[in-house]
Symmetry: C2
Subunit: 381 residues, 2 copies
């Protein structure tokens, strides 16, 4: 285990009816901006619950933060926040709305252009923000990271802000109305978040391995039920909680992380608009195949403890584990090959060129460069 | 899963050499009281590291917080803290020193007697405190609970203070000098902390079960190595981290808890002075036997997932699981029967009388009363 510092001050407010606590969670002296996505929260009753809980608060609303939130939209939100002297931001929606709010809350304390903060990779300051999360996937509700896109440049980058959400409200009943494809993308995103922190071989920890395996096992167990049983409160509770625990630092203590699949996935989304979770389902099995020697010991452990695969030889076990991982994504209804999305070699070349231009080298062993990205993308063609 | 609020703001500073960070972690304007136990930190070099890191800070020292910290000692520390206008407390030692500091930091903001706070079960206010933990067992380094004894009345109670540790420094190298019996007691304490949150059948969560099982599996795997390989850094890292994760709220989200073994164990310590972890090793298997019907489903899951026990019938599996649990404690070198400590029926009656006087009813199903305590204690005679 390597040295680490862990601190996560977010207050997780979990369970049915929790939105009603908003009135007590936000000081009435605050000038609150409520930020939303496209309007699904008006259909599922969440908007009404939020407004009822904050009926005695001073609020303004901003609508229209899109999936893969765009800096162009967030610039407008920032301008409004400054105009109204907002000092508390509440994201109501999925991870994209919250990611957008993280940039707006930081940009409201910054004189320059919000995109500077994204390019810098970190925000120096931020106003307070919190969320009512209604789609569990990104884990954004218990961390200080966000991923923002720029429509003009076609770029998509992660950045870290200076504050964690003050609180995050998770009511499993709000997930009952999530469309199937979004649930599938979310489950894929959560599964790969765990793998990005688990499937490494340097700076290992027995307890962190067990916890990562615990989330993977839970996801494999609940995924069919999440997709089939719309209103199963217990299942949706474990789904929501798994998403938060997958990316809040609790399984990352002292261990090396990877994130190569996310790096490649972000570019795939930037060039093709394939949803984030869906890109991961394509890239992860291919990455595992490309790195099966480097990740050998951990793939074998994953095969044994998570997938319960045994075989005549280690080679066969590894092949079966990679195939089972791809099958898991397919069981969610997700595609796992680029051709299924109509992505051709021309697009692959554009993605590879971008890594080449930036001279990117990444992954847990810091050895994935543009030629290896090309090999991975061609192998999942 | 039941509704819950989780928030744990403690900064965990983990790894070798971390004590040197103390100088930056505590503001130089603070008037710091350093609190210690009996002096082992002078022998293992921790004291020197702390003093070197805080050489430019304004500090006073208080020595002599004993195992099962006594309010009589803590009253003296509180008086000194008030006299020197201390505004930051640093516990250097094991869980007992830190538990004591939690009371002192609260009592320094209270006009009455410190024991009032313990009897009240909670502190309304507290000054800031932190710790350098050198014996991992209680998990006190990442929670706001503490257990305090009163020598005069022979009582021992838990209370909750109003603040979490500001930070907790864990350097696995500081554990190399812990005596074997303290390591064994610590491992027992950690193991039972997990079981108290896991071995219940109401308000269940798949993900919380997996995480609890993950700590139990880790402890079973590392325990022999903790006891045999004094200077194995990786093993000691997982030992320290397991202790913190076992009792910081991370495996308690939304699930019912038990704590009956701790309730009975505290009384056993109060009457006999048997170390806390050692009492749990005696009581836990007996409690499991007494409640094997009530806890049936979870014992079977524990047998399958943690102990990998299979058998011809559920009855046999349950018996084997309880026997394996007792064997685990014995593998630590701990006694699991009261007669081995010379505890007789007279002492058992005194303990039972105390529960009778208080009309105590506790446990995950709130159905353990004095007669059941008697049955449990007689069965582990």
């Amino acid at each position: 285990m390597q040295n680490f510092i862990y601190c996560n001050p977010t207050q997780l407010v979990f369970g049915k009816g929790s939105i009603a606590k908003l009135g007590d969670l936000i000081d009435k002296k605050r000038k609150v901006m409520l930020l939303f996505g496209g309007g699904s929260v008006k259909k599922n009753g969440v908007y009404d619950q939020v407004k009822a809980a904050l009926k005695n608060h001073n609020t303004v609303e901003f609508w229209g933060i899109e999936p893969n939130p765009k800096v162009e939209t967030l610039r407008r939100a920032t301008a409004q926040a400054k105009k109204y002297k907002i000092d508390f931001f509440l994201a109501v929606g999925g991870g994209s709305v919250l990611d957008g709010v993280k940039l707006v809350a930081a940009a409201a304390r910054y004189d320059g252009d919000p995109w500077d903060i994204v390019l810098d990779g970190k925000a120096k300051d931020s106003l307070d923000y919190a969320c009512v999360i209604t789609i569990s996937a990104t884990g954004s509700e218990m961390n200080n990271g966000a991923v923002i896109s720029c429509e003009k440049s076609g770029e998509k980058f992660a950045f870290f802000t200076s504050k964690y959400p003050i609180f995050s409200i998770l009511d499993p009943e709000t997930t009952y109305s999530i469309p199937l494809d979004q649930l599938a993308n979310g489950l894929s995103d959560i599964f790969v978040h765990v793998l990005e922190q688990y499937m490494t071989t340097i700076n290992q920890s027995r307890i962190m391995d067990r916890w990562a395996e615990g989330i993977l096992q839970t996801l494999i167990e609940i995924a069919p039920k999440v997709l089939n049983n719309k209103c199963d409160y217990a299942i949706r509770s474990d789904y929501m909680l798994s998403a938060s625990l997958a990316l809040n630092g609790m399984i990352a203590m002292g261990v090396t992380q990877d994130w190569a699949t996310h790096m490649i996935g972000h570019e795939l989304t930037a060039f093709t608009d394939i949803a984030h979770g869906a890109t991961l389902a394509v890239i992860y099995p291919a990455l595992l195949r490309a790195q099966k020697e480097q990740k050998r010991d951990k793939i074998l452990q994953y095969a044994d403890r998570v997938l319960h695969i045994s075989g005549e030889s280690e080679e066969i076990v590894i092949e079966k584990a990679i195939a089972a991982t791809e099958s898991f994504f397919r069981s969610l209804g997700l595609k796992t090959r680029l051709f299924e999305y109509g992505v051709d070699e021309n697009t692959i070349d554009k993605i590879v060129d971008r890594f080449l231009e930036r001279k990117s080298v990444f992954g847990d062993n810091n050895n994935i460069d543009a030629p290896i990205v090309k090999k991975i993308l061609l192998s999942c063609k």
